[in-house]
């Protein structure tokens, strides 16, 4: 029928259901060259199940909308190539587990937006010079690559298995705080927030978040560990505390 047809078929086992329960439903999909899981989901919508719920926007790994668990692994569906999975075996597609299900592959991610609101915004220091070198911002630009796919939130055991959403902001928002804290002329103090509200102490550096990040942000090493150091300096290091009282310096600088 079309130029990309391969004559092959693949079975997708897609989770269908809502808060009241559901099950995996198998769909057989004709495979085109280069097809990704999101293409297969769209094929199912157009030919088998017009009401299959899914989020997507860019289809180019830029918007972070199409997060799901493909064969048990948190991933962007628009980046998951069918031919990277073992041939002849079904591919399961399920919604992210850490967030409450809305329907099918769509989950309720509003909690993330609530956390974000509580983070103190960028606050330039009075009289700061608006000039800085590229090397001063390379690190912060890494954090600002985040596309808010929330896959790191999905995989982090503190949120996923221990359900500590009320105590822990999750890797995504530690990355965001790092981006603000390391802005060359930001002057806000987020250290008490990090310790008491964001619960940074709950992270035990398993690095699972870094492994799933589609933007390749080194979440644990570059964002979380330096922030942990700021908290330690502030609360547990008397020398730093005295130094700060004398100089007014920001933590870790």
């Amino acid at each position: 029928m079309n130029a990309g047809a391969t004559g092959r078929e693949v079975v997708l086992r897609v989770y269908r259901g809502d808060a009241n329960g559901g099950e995996e439903v198998a769909y057989t999909v004709p495979v085109e060259t280069g097809m990704v899981v999101l293409d297969a989901i769209h094929w199912i919508q157009a030919h088998r199940a017009p009401d299959l719920a899914v989020r997507w926007n860019c289809k180019a790994a830029k918007c972070g909308s199409c997060s799901a668990e493909v064969n048990g692994k948190p991933a962007l569906m628009c980046k998951s190539r069918l031919d990277h999975f073992p041939e002849g075996q079904p591919i399961t597609v399920r919604p992210m587990k850490t967030f409450p299900i809305v329907r099918d592959l769509v989950t309720d991610v509003k909690w993330n937006y609530e956390i974000n609101k509580r983070i103190a915004p960028f606050q330039p220091r009075a009289n700061a010079e608006w000039r800085w070198q590229q090397s001063d911002i390379d690190r912060v630009q890494e954090f600002r690559k985040c596309i808010e796919c929330f896959l790191c939130q999905d995989v982090c055991h503190v949120l996923r298995s221990h359900e500590l959403k009320h105590q822990f902001a999750g890797p995504r928002f530690l990355v965001r705080i790092a981006g603000l804290e390391m802005h060359p002329i930001d002057g806000a103090d987020r250290v008490p927030f990090l310790k008491d509200t964001a619960g940074i102490g709950l992270c035990n550096i398993t690095k699972c978040c870094t492994e799933v990040c589609p933007e390749g942000i080194t979440i644990t090493d570059n964002a979380i560990i330096p922030l942990k150091e700021r908290v330690v300096d502030r609360y547990y290091d008397p020398v730093q505390r005295v130094w700060r009282a004398i100089t007014g310096a920001k933590d870790g600088t």
Binding site: M35, P50, D51
Partner: protein, 623 residues
Amino acid sequence: MEKFEAHEHDVIVIGAGGAGLRAAIEASAMGCSVGLVCKSLLGKAHTVMAEGGIAAALAHVDPQDGWQTHFQDTMKGGSFLNHWRMAQIHAQEAPDRVRELEQCGALFDRTPDGRILQRAFGGHTWKRLAHVGDRTGLEMIRTLQDRGVHQGLDVYMECTITRLFTDGGRIAGALAYWRETGRFVVFRCKAVVIVTGGVGKAYRVTSNSWEYTGDGQALAYDVGAELIDMEFLQFHPTGMVWPPGVMGLLVTEGVRGEGGILRNAQGERFMWKYLPEARRHEYAADEAEARRWLDAVVEGRQTDARRPPELSTRDNVARAIYTEVKEGRGTPHGGASLDISYMPAERVKKKLPSMYHQFMELADVDITQTPMEVGPTTHYMMGGIRVDPDTGAATVPGLFAAGEASAGLHGANRLGGNSLSDLVVFGRRAGAGAASYARALAATPHIADDAIEAETRDVLAPFERTSGESPYGVHQALQECMDTFVGIFRVAGDLERALGTLETLKQRARDVRIEGSRMYNPGWHLARDLRNMLTVSEAITRAALLRTESRGAHSRLDHPGLDPALGRVNMCVTKDGEAMKVAPTPLPEMPAELKALFDAGAAGTAAAPAAAAPATAAAGKAS
């Protein structure tokens, strides 16, 4: 009647891209209560996908730049069909808007002396695009989003507006449904700002997402607003053509800026054949000169060599590729070959990181080793809601618009980078316009209950039907129709045929049937979006039929030349009863002092460009 959730605000902003966020922030800062409504999650609007940069004459890299040159470039790029006042405001205010983003926390790439870095792009005389690698849109939307939520905007996300209501000709509110539950919401307000973006989903091959269904243009049209310039749809010359799943995905203009060479299947570097005679002198005469230009770009030094022919304007490159393929000189999958593999692999990866990954991961093509296959893709709508340049007011009282949904700034063709700047310049102005209007209005207008009821019945009708087809089939037929008959090259016969097809599709769309529940049901959402796509498709086709000339992005095979008389009018689309009316309306006359900028004597800034511009020109890495 179902009990409705209802909210009252002074201003409702429909759309949370760059334009919507900036408008909402402004209206809220002026003391209005603002509701910000968007179809997707916050932060996922199209703006997030913009790569190349935001155009503003900051003059950090090329000190010769100034608003006058930016103004001239924009007018020339738009074949002088732009609203001069919009082009002027845009060029004058863009630098402040960029600095303001920085003050809100955006981190642009830096010059060696620590200021905002700028890169060159097609049609811009000087290096003008402030950028963040190849993710400028993400930086912009995140900055505005974080600013907005701390300002106390009420955000309604995954909430789709289906109709605007008026009271005695004034805007009174809107109806929406929550995507998650399918429940209706009534918004009562004094003013509405439409910032819903473009229309690309009416076409099959497009760089646009599912959201681009022309909702804003159709909502405005339905309450009597004027749409202009709808025939001007930008086809970006380089979209992916293979594999099928990624067809249309954007390949940034930065590839050509970095030295990307276009060839046909016979290996011929064809762009020289397609340079317009009037501008041929701006481009390299041969391979050797093009290479000298590129070497200077790489080494970051100045040169007198002129830029390669691949850096011609978007409309021209798109037509060239299309023609090569049509005449049988296309690559295996029906495109042209775009080759950057002769450059050092490390440089390609550093300058074009996301393109490298995009081709590697989605097409199994290593662009440092093999050429890419590219072809034109539907990208940007120059036309849209007619607005007052200073306030963003549409022609219906209480209605405002900005961003891609509005028209006027870009004329017949948009320059790369001029959209992101458009969003913040005119988003801010439309927000202020709406706020001033709302404050001057004593009471919120009234929405008649039966209007609400009629609309909800209409939206739910597809669930009631016991027979009828799925909306996906109708959508596919629409895309085929627009791709085939209302594409890059147009002729009267094709356009008339398209109008016939659109009539039957309208009927089919009215009869679609939806199964399942109202909870997050994409088929149902599409049924509604289809109506809007059909409205804008008809507007594009009718306006294209009436413009019997070729100008900017609009090319008529049966009228290949420019018609000076048509250069003085916009095609204006309005609703006349149930029928669509299209008629020419006069273009506002440019004042003498601005006209003088284009006179030969003052051409120092305007005409100097290509030859004299330092060679780092177009050294960018984006779209």
